[in-house]
């Protein structure tokens, strides 16, 4: 709602830094998710290892943002939309850290899959991956733009994600029901598709937090946005 700057320039700077760091964390998290998928589909061990190493940056940013938020609250005691921005940023960074952890899990399982022969069924991950990445992108854009409509659009993407996830899971489970020499890889793929879905779910959490930030309404767990 407010478009005027604060009288305290240091307060404005602290809020702006918080937002920029959260957005940067979003960029790094997205990069880790993309690299994990590349590692899997391109059978690239080095990229998988890079994802595991790069997670440290995301972890450190989470700690920094939590610390900065604490200091900001103690120093400036924000109210209303300022307070919601700080709280939302802290919650978003927690979700981003979880997403990056899932990227690491995907990379670790991908390393195992890479050891064995190529599987055409890996491509079944792609629709879920594309959808989850789109959800993450849109959720972070809604935070950046303070756009409730964009955040609501992320929620609407969930059905499609679920459909893709179900399709891949079904295919992998079917493979596991019969004797198969690549059973370990199919087992790993069922884990991976689950984590990809979780990335989409956590992006929904981010979108819900953005809606709270902008409208002060909590729509989690089935709540609806009032006009």
């Amino acid at each position: 709602m407010p478009d005027q700057i604060h009288i305290l320039t240091e307060f404005d700077q602290a809020l702006s830094d918080l937002k920029n760091n959260t957005l940067e964390m979003g960029v790094l998290t997205k990069r880790n998710v993309e690299n994990a998928f590349t590692g899997l589909t391109q059978r690239d061990l080095a990229i998988c290892n890079q994802v595991i190493a790069d997670d440290e940056e995301v972890d450190q940013l989470e700690i920094q943002i939590d610390n900065d938020s604490l200091q900001l609250m103690a120093k400036f005691q924000p109210f209303a939309s300022d307070l919601r921005l700080v709280i939302t940023s802290m919650k978003i960074t927690h979700d981003l850290e979880r997403i990056s952890d899932h990227a690491v899990s995907i990379a670790k399982r991908s390393r195992k899959i890479i050891k064995y022969g190529d599987l055409e069924e890996i491509s079944l991950i792609e629709p879920s991956y594309n959808q989850a990445l789109k959800m993450l992108d849109s959720a972070m854009a809604s935070y950046s733009e303070k756009c409730t409509q964009q955040a609501l659009a992320v929620l609407a993407m969930d059905d499609e994600l679920r459909k893709f996830h179900k399709m891949a899971t079904k295919a992998y489970t079917k493979k596991l029901e019969e004797p198969c020499e690549n059973y370990k890889s199919f087992l790993n793929l069922t884990f991976i598709i689950r984590w990809v879905e979780r990335i989409g779910n956590l992006s929904i959490n981010i979108a819900e937090d953005v809606i709270f930030m902008e409208s002060a309404q909590d729509i989690r767990h089935g709540g609806e946005l009032e006009e």
């Binding site: 407010p2 009288i7 307060f11 109210f79 939309s81 002060a216």
Partner: protein, 255 residues
């Protein structure tokens, strides 16, 4: 039940016999046994409005109610049969700068009762003890009731002024920035006291501290240039105000 104890209807007030209005048509209902905070920048009329509630502005020759009315318990406080002195027994006031009389602690609290003609020592003793307990000061001063009130710390003097106010058992306590001259510990004690007093009294507090308003009050009214901009539950005002003006003010965006 929280009925509306104080009702302001289109109240206008002027310091210069009506030439300019300091308060411009404020309508507001203040519920019983709750804390209502008035906030707003200096000169917005919040203290003036507070002083209208017990007709303290009557003491200024050129002051004038230009329109509207104030009703307390349904009674128009400016009606011809209402005596301002009598009104102030029911609507007590605590000021920004604590102002105990240069008398003993006991006499400060007993003063209001004495001018009502009460002389019975047992009655006075009981009222002094009740009021000092009510203002959370009894344990600190019970062994030195006959010593000068001016020997107390600032925070204690302010709580003594609150004891003096509640000794006459008013319905309403008006507080005009009661903690602005106090340190954080004394402020916390007064705020704790306000929270306890809410059980028995209707409190209206003017404060410049947004944190204080959000901590102690149930409802908050934001004023600007003599007008009531927004009045709502305190949680709403500080978490999601409906007016941009309110949000700008409470978050320090006011130019």
């Amino acid at each position: 039940m929280n009925s509306q104890l104080i009702q302001l209807n289109d109240l206008g007030f002027s310091y210069d016999q009506g030439k300019t209005e300091t308060i411009k048509g404020v309508s507001l209902d203040i519920p019983e046994k709750q804390v209502t905070a008035f906030i707003g920048p200096s000169g917005c009329g919040k203290s003036t409005l507070l002083r209208c509630l017990n007709r303290m502005n009557d003491l200024i020759d050129t002051a004038k109610i230009t329109r509207g009315s104030i009703k307390i318990l349904g009674q128009d406080i400016h009606a011809s049969d209402v005596d301002a002195i009598e009104l102030r027994k029911h609507v007590g006031m605590v000021f920004q700068k604590y102002n105990p009389f240069p008398k003993s602690i006991y006499e400060n609290v007993a003063y209001g009762l004495r001018i009502q003609g009460i002389k019975n020592k047992d009655v006075l003793d009981e009222a002094v003890e009740r009021s000092l307990k009510g203002s959370a000061l009894w344990d600190e001063v019970k062994d030195r009731l006959k010593t000068s009130a001016l020997g107390l710390s600032g925070g204690q003097q302010q709580r003594l002024c609150i004891a003096r106010t509640i000794a006459v058992q008013p319905k309403v306590i008006l507080m005009d920035e009661p903690c602005s001259a106090l340190d954080p510990i004394a402020t916390a004690k007064v705020e704790e006291l306000i929270t306890e007093l809410r059980e028995q009294y209707t409190i209206v507090i003017v404060t410049h501290s947004m944190q204080q308003a959000s901590r102690v009050s149930d409802r908050t009214a934001f004023f600007y240039l003599g007008e009531l901009i927004e009045y709502d539950k305190t949680n709403t005002i500080f978490q999601n105000p409906s007016q941009k003006h309110t949000e700008d003010y409470i978050s320090g965006r006011f130019g």
